[in-house]
């Protein structure tokens, strides 16, 4: 098991290097730092001196991959590739365009993102799985058909409408919770309840339908018939037997997401003014702060790879047949 984990971690390195190269090509080769400077300073009527100054301030005035003027090891390290890309491997992200330390900012914004993502995740999982099991319990009845139709309708609505509608109805018309904002500590509950609710409701449609298909596939297997033949109640069969055996496909979709939770939700956070990583990313996209976007891309892929590894490990926990070697 430990050997397996170590091997998987080693396997992650070439993938991360690949991610890094892609972002490097995207951010520095497709457009040269000159283009970026021109864009940031306003495309027209910009002097070459201003561009040079902008580049020097942000450390883009070095060669891309090979610095022939430097001495010794600095030939490779005193370059944009090393300074802006390779340093990310030790989570040294440098500074954003507004001069703030990106790593520090990420550390500060992690909390609010998690505060909204974890309740959403747990509650959402619980609600959708229960709803799907309910549909399976009433399979081939009007309730099941109605539920599926509802799911299809719910998943046809853009997430934006859930947010806008929920915000309007709950905060503005009923005046139950503040429209947006955030407070640290226990005070946060007031601000978090609505975004959590909205994203749970918005997610029910597609996931409940997906779980329902999983459960239906499982329910025709022999062990279910055996369990029924033993005289177990249908509810017991569903919750004890079917749910347990459908765990692997559920975990496949779910565990990958766990590490990504801390990236927060782009939409929710920006709509509700929550100072998490999601809104940080959106702000960076809007202000075209390339350093921040690049860092977020890198962190996202690290987390995704961690998620994949966690998924595999979680298999061994729920299914004794799985052995990792």
């Amino acid at each position: 098991m430990i050997a397996y984990i170590i091997r998987r971690l080693l396997y992650a390195i070439p993938i991360l290097i690949g991610v890094n190269l892609i972002t490097f090509v995207l951010f520095f080769v497709v457009n040269s730092p000159d283009d970026m400077a021109r864009m940031q300073l306003g495309a027209k009527r910009v002097t070459p001196e201003a561009i040079e100054k902008w580049k020097a301030e942000r450390g883009y005035d070095r060669p891309l991959v090979w610095n022939a003027n430097a001495a010794g090891l600095a030939k490779a390290t005193d370059t944009i590739l090393f300074d802006k890309s390779m340093r990310m491997f030790v989570f040294d992200f440098g500074r954003a365009d507004d001069g703030r330390d990106i790593a520090l900012e990420i550390g500060n914004r992690m909390g609010p993102s998690l505060a909204i993502a974890i309740p959403t995740f747990l509650l959402g999982l619980f609600v959708t799985v229960s709803f799907a099991l309910l549909l399976v319990f009433f399979r081939n009845t009007a309730l099941d058909v109605g539920g599926v139709v509802l799911c299809v309708a719910a998943m046809s609505i853009s997430g934006l409408f859930y947010i806008i509608g929920g915000q309007y109805l709950v905060s503005k018309v009923w005046n139950l919770v503040p429209i947006s904002g955030y407070a640290p500590g226990l005070d946060a509950g007031r601000f978090l309840i609505l975004p959590v609710l909205i994203s749970v409701v918005g997610g029910i449609g597609s996931s409940a339908r997906w779980y329902r298909t999983l459960f239906l596939e499982e329910i025709n297997k022999d062990y279910v018939r055996t369990a029924r033949a033993k005289g177990l109640s249908e509810l017991r069969v569903l919750f004890r037997h079917v749910l347990k055996n459908a765990m692997i496909p559920i975990l496949t979709g779910v565990v990958v997401v766990i590490p990504l939770l801390f990236m927060g939700s782009l939409l929710l956070e920006s709509f509700f003014g929550i100072p998490g990583l999601g809104s940080y990313t959106i702000d960076a996209i809007n202000s075209q702060d390339f350093a921040v976007v690049r860092s977020m891309v890198f962190i996202g892929s690290v987390l995704y790879i961690v998620g994949l590894l966690l998924t595999d490990i979680s298999y061994t926990l729920v299914d004794p047949r799985v052995r990792l070697k």
Binding site: P14, I15, G18, V19, I22, T23, L26, F27, V30, N31, D35, M36, R38, M39, A43, N140, V152, A153, M155, S156, I157, S158, G159, L160, F161, I164, Q167, Y168, K172, L260, M263, L266, L267, S270, T281, I282, I285, N286, Q288, F290, V293, R294, M296, V297, G300, S301, Y304, I305, L308
Partner: protein, 482 residues
């Protein structure tokens, strides 16, 4: 010529996609197993109803993809022909009234007066009141007629819609009768009350019922749109109905053009990885793992940001604003395609791994057929159901993601109409007092109709083409029969 045709890149691609679909349809007709699968799609009422709805959307989108520059009136003393700088489409020409009849600012649906009070002079006295709209209900002499006018217009519109529907139904039933070599009355009866037989009939009834609803609804809206702003107007006084119709093309383009990038990549790489194995497999797997491990929105954001820099630093590449918006839209499709081929590629690779061990592929190998030929002739046709299912299932997701991306500000050009830009604008309108709800509602209704229809259709296609689902469908049928 009174206009100069303009062929935008997206138009060209869209029309070639339509041509491709026609070729594919002809091919499906010639292949027995494909025809049977499509027949199963036709047997589903939900699928046929959604096809009818989708057809309307597609018609709007295609009309909006015929672009031209109108000719300017000739200047005196000059024989030179000049064309307007703005690029219009057939849809614009068709709905010229909607496009041109702009108010000053917001007005509610079907309103006769503006939404905000204005200072105006009446009988020499300055008062603040709601201004009369320039076009909305301008034909009314007395405002008390407003309700009666709406009612009578709705009635006549509905009647016209019903007539249109009758004509449509008559023609379709006639064609059916001709194709099936039956009498007209027999066909009518068969369509309305299909007989239970071994083969379930094509669900024509669903088509006609949906068409009836659409025709009547369309008739009423058209009758109202003649004198009012049916969905109100937006901040700068543009008709919201017109804006939402224009948004349909953007949504369709994003949903379909993306496949032009996804398909070749996914099919070619998936086939090669699965069939060749070895280092090909390793390299391709590495490629899609890397792409996959970057969170989708972030990768798209990064690419769009880069594209924006390119477009902004090369303004000389684009002659008109429409061309620039078009280039951005295409680039967005391209980027979405580049980030979304991995899932399909993985599926195809797995399936190819299975197929290449089958006897007929081994036999072909033993005959010395080249790898490329085996892939094209023996493996690819057996993968087509996966491709097709993935394509129709992806469509609605792409339409939805366009809205989100445009909202974040990394979607289509802000000068281009799309549901995302409409929703984006609506966000501020909701905080006004009283609320400006209509443009959000219009975007909501149209998007829901489009995506719901696409989802239902995709479900039917999956049921018909996926072997696993067929098995389940047959069993439920048997159970129903027992």
């Amino acid at each position: 010529m009174i206009f100069k045709p303009v062929l935008l890149w997206s138009d060209l691609l869209l029309w070639s996609l339509v041509a491709g679909a026609v070729v594919l349809a002809l091919y499906c007709r010639s292949q027995d197993y494909l025809r049977r699968a499509w027949r199963r799609v036709g047997e589903s009422s939900a699928a046929m109803a959604s096809v009818t709805v989708l057809a309307v959307f597609v018609a709007v989108g295609l009309l909006d993809s015929l672009h031209y520059q109108p000719r300017l009136p000739a200047k005196e003393g000059s024989s030179e022909i000049q064309y307007a700088p703005e690029v219009l489409s057939a849809l614009d020409a068709l709905f010229a009234d909607l496009r041109l009849n702009n108010e000053k600012t917001y007005s509610a649906p079907l309103a006769t007066h503006g939404f905000a009070k204005e200072t105006m002079e009446r009988d020499g006295v300055q008062t603040r009141d709601y201004p009369r709209l320039v076009f909305g209900g301008a034909h009314l002499d007395e405002l008390s007629q407003h309700d009666a006018d709406l009612r009578s217009r709705a009635l006549s519109g509905a009647l016209k819609g019903a007539l249109l529907w009758a004509a449509f139904t008559g023609v379709v039933v006639g064609l059916l009768a001709l194709a099936q070599r039956r009498s007209y009355a027999d066909t009518c009866r068969a369509v309305w009350r299909p007989r239970r037989s071994a083969e379930r009939p094509i669900a024509w009834r669903a088509v006609f019922v949906t068409a009836a609803v659409l025709c009547v609804l369309g008739g009423v809206i058209a009758a109202w749109a003649d004198g009012y702003h049916v969905f109100g107007t937006d901040k700068v006084g543009q008709d919201v109905l017109y804006l939402s119709l224009k948004s349909v093309r953007t949504a369709l383009l994003i949903g379909t053009l993306t496949t032009l990038v996804t398909l070749p990549l996914a099919i070619a790489l998936g086939l090669i990885a699965g069939f060749r194995g070895g280092w090909w497999d390793d390299a391709i797997q590495y490629l899609y793992t890397v792409l996959n491990s970057i969170p989708g929105v972030l990768l798209i954001a990064a690419m769009v940001l880069m594209m924006q820099v390119i477009i902004d630093t090369h303004p000389e590449w684009f002659e008109t604003a429409a061309e620039r918006a078009d280039a951005r839209l295409l680039a967005l499709c391209f980027i979405l395609g580049l980030t979304s081929w991995t899932g399909l590629c993985r599926l195809l690779r797995a399936e190819t791994l299975k197929l290449r061990e089958l006897d007929y592929v081994q036999a072909a190998r033993a005959f010395g057929v080249s790898d490329a030929r085996i892939m094209a002739r023996h493996v690819l046709p057996n993968l087509m159901h996966i491709v097709l299912i993935a394509l129709v299932m992806d469509f609605s997701g792409l339409v939805l993601s366009e809205a989100v991306l445009s909202y974040i500000g990394i979607g289509v050009d802000s000068s281009m109409n799309s549901f995302g830009t409409m929703i984006n604008a609506a966000r501020l309108e909701l905080s006004r007092e009283p609320v400006v709800w209509w443009s959000l509602a219009a975007a909501f209704v149209l998007m829901l109709a489009l995506v719901l229809a696409a989802n239902l259709f995709a479900d039917a296609v999956r049921d018909a083409f996926d072997p696993r689902f067929q098995w389940r469908a047959r069993r439920t049928l048997r159970r129903a029969a027992a």
